[in-house]
């Protein structure tokens, strides 16, 4: 269970950005890949806990699930996977090269009423 320390980092990043831009935050948008090693449900409850008694208390964490995208060496194309089976969905070639799917990124802040 490392989601709490990750949630604390998310709150820190968002607080710092909000203060720097003098904005009031309603929600934090996060991009999460299946290969980030983070469980979304655990992260959401951890976020509630981590944001308590901070300027982000009461804000929500909106998680955008990023699919795994690989490069198929045979088709020379990017392919989106729907499972953890690393094979090209078109030609069945093994696809070790991961292009996307490790994201754990505070993508944006959604603004509320001006601070």
């Amino acid at each position: 269970m490392h989601e709490l320390s990750i949630a604390v980092s998310i709150v820190e990043i968002a607080e710092k950005e909000a203060a720097r831009r003098c904005v009031c935050v309603r929600a934090v948008h996060l991009r999460l890949g299946p290969l980030a090693g983070v469980v979304k449900e655990a992260l959401l409850s951890a976020y509630e806990l981590a944001s308590q008694n901070t300027s982000l208390a009461g804000t929500s964490l909106l998680v955008e699930d990023m699919p795994i995208v690989v490069h198929c060496p045979h088709c020379d194309q990017r392919r989106t996977l729907t499972s953890f089976e690393f094979r090209c969905p078109e030609c069945d070639t093994p696809t070790p090269e991961v292009v996307q799917g490790r994201e754990l990124e505070v993508f944006a802040l959604e603004l509320g009423d001006a601070a």
């Binding site: 269970m1 990750i6 980092s9 968002a14 090693g37 953890f84 089976e85 696809t95 505070v106 959604e110």
Partner: protein, 225 residues
């Protein structure tokens, strides 16, 4: 009304990644090859590492850092190999982070080493997110664990570089299905090298050490590696 958004685009683990990058540069500059070990609890990391440390000496200068939640037992066991060993007691933390490795190295000169091993906490989930500055992430899976481990924990297998199948001396008793494990590993991490060992009988240890030392030699020849 469409919500107003301001873009931030910041990696949540940026701090860890920066510390890891600095560590990696330091390791490369000093010529030490760094291997981290991950596995579930009880799959034989410590026994495998003790044997590896013992066999690499005296031809190579080796050391180990070992992460454990609460005890120093693993460090005591590894110290029997006569290699320098330091324990990182993580308390309630379920994984190692780059800064913990950096702190544990204080007073050690990586330039005096050929190999540094970092044994992570026994856990197949959390360690996958944290870069430790290693050259190689080794995942250990024992023959008693079930051949579907890679499918249950695809992230840690996908982010690892080599699999060591341990406790091969128990393979028959455990009715271990080598083909099934190999195909599950290749499904989640195509092209992964898989080696089979028994640290107890010594089976496969020569092949593992030959592979490892050859990898270190080729890494040293690559510019910028």
């Amino acid at each position: 009304m469409t919500p107003r958004l301001v873009e931030v685009r910041q990696n949540v683990l940026k701090h860890n990644d920066e510390v890891a990058r600095a560590l990696r540069e330091r390791f490369h500059a000093s010529g030490v090859f760094v291997i981290s070990l991950v596995s579930s609890p009880g799959s034989g990391k410590t026994t495998f590492l003790e044997r590896t440390l013992t066999l690499l000496q005296p031809a190579y200068r080796v050391a180990a850092l070992v992460g454990d939640l609460a005890t120093e037992n693993d460090a005591r066991r590894l110290a029997r190999s006569r290699a320098p060993v330091r324990q990182i007691v993580t308390g309630t933390l379920c994984h190692l982070e780059a800064a913990m490795v950096e702190n544990a190295l204080e007073g050690w000169s990586p330039g005096e080493l050929d190999f540094l091993f970092i044994e992570n906490v026994g856990n197949l989930v959390c360690p996958s997110s944290y870069d430790l500055g290693e050259d190689l992430r080794l995942i250990l899976v024992s023959v008693t664990e079930g051949e579907d481990k890679p499918l249950k924990y695809p992230t840690i297998f996908n982010t690892s570089d080599v699999t060591i199948v341990s406790k091969m001396d128990l393979a028959e008793a455990a009715e271990f299905d080598w083909q099934a494990l190999e195909s599950n590993i290749q499904a989640v991490r195509p092209g992964m090298r898989v080696l089979r060992v028994s640290a107890k009988t010594g089976q496969g240890m020569d092949e593992w050490l030959e592979w490892l030392t050859a990898l270190r030699s080729s890494a040293a020849r690559l510019p910028g590696q």
